[in-house]
């Protein structure tokens, strides 16, 4: 039986919604070692050669099963790079929960760089949720640099939800995707930075097959003196459709740079980019204030809704 201390429990609940050891296939990594692992009949989790991460093999046709691979770090000064490779069998339909929580109460930086590679088989469907969270009042930074690589075979579907709302000081996120014919990628990113945090999110999506579609939407809030960069590149290499959107609220002295990048290499590629950055609209605050909320409460409601 896995023993978790209170900080570990709190981090697990923040990043994976877990209040106890999950059912089905899982691996819980804490302070650079696996503290619990289970495979199921259809999902096998094994260490990678070299021991720097995991291989997750999902049998073809596996339906309605989940995989949890959360990471928690509670020691200061840890720095790790972890590779997790997901092989998702043809025609399967699975739910994968990852995410990393760092509690750093010490003076040294703690860093987790998780590189996730997804090989999504023909007509398979995957929903992937990744939450990042930082806490602790040490002077050491909490750093997360996630890399996500997606290889979507014909007719496969990948739906990604990436959330980083609190406490992560520095992030360089890179997401790349290769889409075969008829593959579909949906990304919903939600990001809030505060203090002097810095977050960079870069996407490169190659729509290589006919009928491939991608929809990448980022909603973010930059508060205090924080900085964000959203850099989304779509390459339409076949008759395909793609949409990217950066919708951001800036507050205080927050700064945001949105860089659209669309390249159509096929006459039937239809690509769209939207970006809007601005402070909270005065009318929105006024409306909520006429309902009896203070300006601060109104701001909170607007941001909560925006990032919901």
């Amino acid at each position: 039986m896995i023993k978790l201390d209170e900080i570990q429990k709190r981090l697990l609940s923040e990043v994976a919604g877990l209040h106890k050891v999950p059912e089905g296939a899982f691996n819980i990594r804490s302070n650079s070692e696996s503290i619990g692992r289970a495979s199921s009949a259809n999902i096998e989790i094994i260490p990678r050669e070299g021991g720097d991460g995991l291989e997750i093999h999902i049998k073809p046709g596996t339906k309605n099963e989940s995989v949890h691979i959360p990471v928690v770090m509670t020691k200061t000064g840890l720095k790790e790079v972890v590779y997790n490779d997901f092989y998702i069998g043809e025609g399967s339909d699975v739910f994968i929960v990852a995410g990393c929580g760092i509690d750093n109460c010490g003076p040294q930086d703690s860093e987790h760089d998780g590189i996730h590679r997804f090989y999504v088989g023909k007509n398979a469907k995957m929903k992937y949720v990744e939450k990042h969270y930082g806490s602790g009042d040490g002077t050491g930074k909490r750093i997360l640099n996630p890399g996500t690589e997606l290889y979507l075979e014909e007719g496969s579907v990948a739906e990604l939800e990436m959330v980083q709302i609190k406490g992560v000081d520095d992030t360089d996120r890179v997401t790349t995707a290769e889409l075969a014919a008829g593959a579909k990628l949906t990304v919903r990113e939600r990001l809030m930075t505060h203090g002097s945090q810095r977050a960079i999110s870069k996407y490169v999506v190659n729509l290589n097959g006919a009928g491939a579609t991608a929809d990448v939407v980022s909603r973010s809030v930059a508060r205090d003196d924080s900085y964000q960069k959203f850099d989304a590149v779509l390459n339409g290499n076949a008759p395909c459709s793609g949409h990217t959107e950066c919708d951001s609220i800036i507050m205080d002295h927050g700064r945001i740079l949105a860089v659209p990048g669309l390249e159509a290499n096929d006459v039937d590629a239809a690509l769209v980019h939207e970006a809007a950055i601005g402070k909270i609209a005065g009318d929105q605050l006024i409306k909520l204030m006429t309902l009896g909320l203070t300006e601060q409460e109104a701001e909170e409601q607007i941001i909560n809704g925006f990032l919901k």
């Binding site: 909603r219 919708d247 609209a281 009318d283 929105q284 006024i286 409306k287 909520l288 204030m289 006429t290 309902l291 009896g292 909320l293 203070t294 300006e295 409601q301 607007i302 909560n304 809704g305 925006f306 990032l307 919901k308």
Partner: protein, 249 residues
């Protein structure tokens, strides 16, 4: 009871102070439905915004139930019992209709109760309660949701700034019923509607005409309406165009 005493308000326009409200004094008594009407640009909406606290007067005082609220914030006035429905309702990304109604009600009422407010404004509650208050809603839908939030707030005085603007004829018929219903249950609260619509004027207890920033007429519906008929404050827009083209009188 709401009392405005010698309210004046101006804005800067090309370095000049342009007076929009000029020394207006008026009273909105409890238990009455009062309609403020008058030509476009006469200062009606500004007056409503001054009452809600969105604008502050240059001079004069506003009393609500005997308390001077002139220097109070929008929030304080809302908490005291002033409700305000925007002429052009605001959209919110991510906030759902249910969230907005709960915020208006000031507590987490069950969804079923929130639905009653939507039904009251003629929306099929089941279809709307989970919708986001964003661009996916039409102007008319948004307007009805705006009115539903003011109903949910159950204010002592509810102000509606041109509720008919942006609403189609079908919804408008329903809206009249909403206001009639509110009028029937008014008790000691009051309703203030800024409107040009004859059918809204017809359900008023009192009518106030504002023109060029001043009250030009004030009294019961029966006293004021006959004087208004045929004037620019009253005539529907299409009829006015026809007048100008000399087709009808």
């Amino acid at each position: 009871m709401l009392e405005l005493k010698n309210i004046s308000f101006g804005v800067d326009s090309d370095g000049m102070n342009k007076e929009i409200i000029r020394d207006i004094s008026l009273t909105i008594p409890d238990g009455k439905l009062v309609v403020i009407t008058g030509p476009n640009g006469g200062g009606k909406s500004t007056l409503a915004r001054l009452i809600a606290g969105i604008e502050k007067p240059d001079s004069g005082q506003i009393f609500f139930n005997g308390t001077d609220i002139t220097d109070m914030s929008i929030t304080e006035r809302a908490k005291m019992g002033i409700g305000f429905a925007f002429q052009q309702p605001v959209r919110f990304k991510g906030i759902q209709v249910l969230d907005l109604i709960r915020l208006a009600r000031g507590k987490n009422i069950p969804a079923a109760n929130a639905c009653e407010y939507l039904s009251a404004v003629g929306l099929c509650a089941r279809d709307y309660i989970d919708r986001e208050v964003n661009n996916s809603l039409s102007g008319g839908e948004l307007k009805r949701i705006e009115i539903a939030t003011v109903l949910a707030k159950e204010s002592q005085i509810s102000i509606f700034d041109e509720p008919e603007a942006g609403i189609d004829l079908w919804s408008f018929n329903n809206l009249i019923d909403v206001f009639k219903g509110m009028r029937d249950n008014i008790k000691d609260s009051s309703i203030l509607i800024i409107s040009h619509q004859e059918r809204i004027l017809n359900i008023a207890d009192q009518v106030i005409v504002i023109k060029d920033g001043q009250v030009t007429e004030e009294g019961s519906r029966d006293e004021v309406l006959p004087d208004l008929i045929g004037t620019a404050s009253y005539t529907a827009k299409c009829a006015k165009f026809k007048d100008e083209e000399g087709e009808t009188k």
